[in-house]
Amino acid sequence: MADFVSSAFVWIPKMYRYDPIDQKIVDERVAQFRDQTRRFLAGTLSEDDFRPLRLQNGLYVQKHAPMLRVAIPYGLLSSRQLRMLAHIARKYDRGYGHFTTRQNIQFNWPTLASVPDILADLATVEMHAIQTSGNCIRNVTSDQFAGVAHDEVVDPRPYAELIRQWSTLHPEFAYLPRKFKIAVSAAAEDRAGTWFHDIGIQIYKSASGEPLLRILVGGGLGRTPILGHELHPGLPLPHLFSYLDATLRVYNRFGRRDNMYKARIKILVKELGVEKFRAEVEAEFAFLKDGPSTLPAAEFERVANHFIDPEYRTLPGVSRKFEQHLIDDRAFSRWVSRSVSGHKRAGYAAVTLSLKTTGSAPGDATDTQLDGVADLADRYSFGEVRVAHEQNLILADVEKDQLYALWQEAKAIGLATPNIGLLTDIIACPGGDFCSLANAKSIPIAQAIQRRVEEKLGDLDYLFDIGDISINISGCMNACGHHHVGHIGILGVDKHGAEFYQVTIGGSQGNDAALGKVIGPSFAQDEMADVIETLIGTYVNLRHEDEQFIDTVHRVGIEPFKAAVYPNGRTQEAKEPADV
């Protein structure tokens, strides 16, 4: 339902809206953090004692300045919230924000003293930075096409919102051995990476139509990349919180705390074996099952009612206007072929706006662009925006008739690069330019590859001809750039104080999730564009008709790629650091 606020037309999106209790919790969190910051600045709270507190509010201290990571639960935003992010970028930062691979946004330049004010501003639009960092349950992620995807079994957003509430300020699990990430998927194609999370939840329906939760545990990227294990094949929804409590309690009590690199739940699951781990969880769950944390149907309904469909119009499946534009305007049809995806409703489409324009850092958006996307959302997509973990933005409910007009407007603000899923749609963490954990820079690698594609490979035809491929770049083995699951993965490593890059190929996300294989010794920064060009050239030479990069890798293995990249037997050299 639309309403009118100071004469401007503003949608009230169909997403979870805070009630007074939700608002109170966030407001009290702001007050708490304001007081903690005051005590830190006054010197009565030590640096060491403040660190975990600020991290649990998303505040890092980075190379140049503090970095504030703001939660975007399961990647869903209203236009109003997006305008607030633009305001924060302008007022407290240097006019831009960075969308992350966990559907959040980071600001790189706020001052520490201003953070309580930023959090207060966020609270006015039902946002926060709670548990976006630290050794606690992190912001829950999900499918960027939730609610509109045609392959969806149920809408995962109510489940994700319920998990958000359950995990928010959970008193028992704020000081876990290590961070803890949960992802939810409820479609035939897993777009949430559930196999690579501490807990992945796949929702499906039983024969009788009851939603069941397949619980995966112990997946993850990072230093020890591993696919999760099935912990429960089909948990009935009412037991969700009791089962999560049981799992987290086993982890909190028995997860390793002696070595931070072995502290994730995946190590506990690996050391115990999944059967033993499951037995521990089941023993704990037996005490909790059917207890007070059981989720009543009425509560699920309350939350689910926030996510009802917007007021879709009844439209024909085929839009003549749209079809005509496809024929008349090649640039438009190219953009459509990459950026527009299917929708459960006839006459509608979901549009991905690219944040991967050559020359800008992957995932970065300026305040003008953020405001611009908010306007587009209001005019074309019921005032709602999603963040994809591939670091792009999505307008999920656009009428096909309107796609041409939307494209022109998106182009005007630099968000219509027709490269979604192509070579230049690179996933990259902030890397050594910003992050104090990084071993090497990520952004210049992404930019060098993008520039090489533009200069050498020239026209768009070539980019389109190369087809679907993902390049994922992480500046260190914490793997924020998800390098293990890129078709080509690039990992920054430190070699005697110099920045080098290790390359993997054959990784993939989704239902056929797989980890890439290292092709050999690492490369210097200025070699990377050549290496990528060689890998792509090798694929082009070897491919069968209609074969995508990843298919060719699966068919021929990594050897031909290795041979092309290391023509002089450089593979013999032992140049890598021992721990990579």
Partner: protein, 188 residues
């Protein structure tokens, strides 16, 4: 673990208050080096390490002329004292560092699983900003880290006035409270 004559913050139905610490927290090392005897005649209130308690429990229970306390370190299993809880006046849980969160689960289990109703005391690196969560999982006494501001600590329990999840202080998650309120008060 420090064993200074610290102040103790106690929570009761009437709120948080400060009281003088009457108990000595004894470490395993103190017993190991022989400076302490389990059957020490001094009628002081002593919080014993788990190992000492497990070795001497029958004698100590038989000999109970004064209240007994036991403390668990962060890695120790509360199941080890589940049977003994009716004999204990105080149970302590040590936080070697406030970042070691095992004690929250230990407290929850002592209260919920093993039904402990006596005083449950947080020991070690206990600071103002962890008190709210500690209260939620069942602690009702807090031996603050040396140097902590008592005034600050007394306000910490009110950081939040509502929570989503059920725990020990409020077993019902907020959604159950809301459903009960609705049932009692009619429709919203």
């Amino acid at each position: 673990m420090s064993n200074h004559a610290s102040t103790l913050v106690r929570l009761s139905k009437s709120g948080a208050s400060v009281s003088q610490e009457e108990w000595s927290v004894l470490t395993l090392a103190q017993f190991a080096e022989g400076s302490l005897d389990t059957h020490c005649a001094a009628p002081q209130k002593r919080l014993l390490p788990l190992t000492v308690w497990l070795e001497e429990r029958d004698a100590l229970i038989a000999d109970a002329t004064h209240p007994i306390g036991v403390w668990l370190d962060s890695h120790e299993d509360p199941a080890a004292i589940a049977e003994d809880l009716p004999s204990l006046a105080v149970v302590g849980v040590n936080f070697p560092s406030f970042k070691d969160g095992r004690g929250y689960s230990t407290a929850y289990l002592l209260r919920q699983r093993y039904g402990y109703t006596g005083e449950l005391r947080a020991l070690g690196d206990v600071q103002r900003d962890q008190l709210f969560y500690m209260k939620r999982v069942g602690f009702d006494a807090f031996q603050l880290k040396a140097g902590a501001s008592i005034e600050d600590a007394l306000t910490a329990f009110n950081d939040f006035t509502v929570s989503y999840q059920g725990s020990i202080d409020q077993p019902l998650p907020y959604y159950r409270q809301r459903l009960l309120q609705r049932a009692a008060g009619g429709a919203e």
